[in-house]
Structures are given as C-alpha cells and as structure tokens.
Amino acid sequence: VVPGETALAFYKAKNPTDKPIIGIATYNVVPFEAGQYFNKIQCFCFEEQRLNPQEEVDMPVFFYIDPEFAEDPKMAKVDLITLSYTFFEAKEGQKLPLPGYQ
C-alpha cells in the first residue's frame, strides 16, 4: 500500500450459530503510532450489522495511509501496519465505549 493512495481490503465474518446476531465492530491498529496515519474512508465498523444464521459476509474497508506517514522519521522502520477488527455482540441499549465518538 502506498501512502496517499486509496486502498481496499476485505475481511470475512461468519455467524456459525442458528440465531441472527447483531454485532458492532471496532478496530485497532498496530503499531500504535501508525494509527494516527490510518484514515478510513468507509468501513463496516461502528454501526450495528446483522448476520443471519450461518451467514457469511465480506466486510470491506476503504482506506488510505496519510502521506505524511512517509515524512515521519519515527515511521521510517515501520513497513508493516496491522489492522484488526473485533466484532462484539450488540446488546440492546448497550453502547460501545468509544472515546471521541459521540
């Protein structure tokens, strides 16, 4: 992935149970310092998503790495950034603690 260029990535999620599940995904970026350069244009996260029983869906993320990443001397040794998602089951009335997100 080239900093400044938009890129597409896919994750896959499966609901192995016999009941529909409503979940919310949140993400994490490693290394931590690279997270500030990671910009999501659109993804499947932060909103409730419904997975029907046995359903398997592709989950896209459309993003770019801020071009300033290439200028940051602290990032000089970083050639691998890992983006991970965790899917939580949404309970009614529960809000994920997302600092800075209303």
Partner: protein, 112 residues
C-alpha cells in the same frame, strides 16, 4: 488503582470512518467484483497499487446497487433505511481514483 507505567501508556482512540459505514452485502451482489479484486491482488503479490482498477470496479458496483425492503426481508439493513445503496454515490475522483478516470476518458475519443 493501576498506576503501572506501561511503556506505552496512551489509549488508542478509534475514529469513525469519513464516509460512514458500508451496509453489508448480504446477497453477495458485488461478490464477483470482490473476487476479481482478490485474484488481482494474489497475482500481483498483494500490491494494492496494481489493483486499483478492480477496486474502483467494486466500489462502482456498490454504488449501483440498492439494498432495502424491496430487495427481500433477509437483506433489510437495520434501522429501516429505505432503499439504501451499498455505497453512497460519490464521484470516483474524490475516492482517489482521479488518475484512473482520466485514463478512461482519454481512451474515449479513439473509440468514437
């Protein structure tokens, strides 16, 4: 209380995406485009830049599709969003595909 000084004692503050969330493609309407994109990535050794054309095609597919009550009960997205597309229409130039669009329009005069 935890006063442990972790070597990196900052908390990661997740940011929401600029253009919001993608509704799920429950019916796999754009799966073919996704497969083509993934094949391209495998062929190119996972170089994202080599597969931008396929990525653009996938996003165009999403913008052309609508998901809503009319499409079938199982595919209804949450919160009753009526007739919602799989992706809001956005000019492709704004999604970082400006150079690919220019290439396309340069080809056109020759075809006429």
């Amino acid at each position: 209380m935890s006063t442990a000084m972790n070597f990196s004692n900052k908390s990661f503050a997740p940011r929401p995406p600029d253009k919001g969330a993608f509704p799920l493609d429950h019916f796999g309407e754009c799966s073919a485009f996704k497969e083509r994109f993934m094949e391209c990535l495998r062929r190119s050794g996972y170089e994202s830049a080599a597969c931008r054309q396929s990525a653009m095609a996938y996003l165009e597919c999403r913008m052309d599709r609508r998901v809503g009550p009319g499409a079938g009960a199982a595919g209804t997205p949450l919160r009753g969003r009526e007739g919602k597309q799989l992706m809001a229409n956005e000019p492709l130039e704004k999604l970082g595909f400006k150079d690919l669009i220019n290439e396309k329009s340069e080809e056109k005069p020759e075809k006429s």
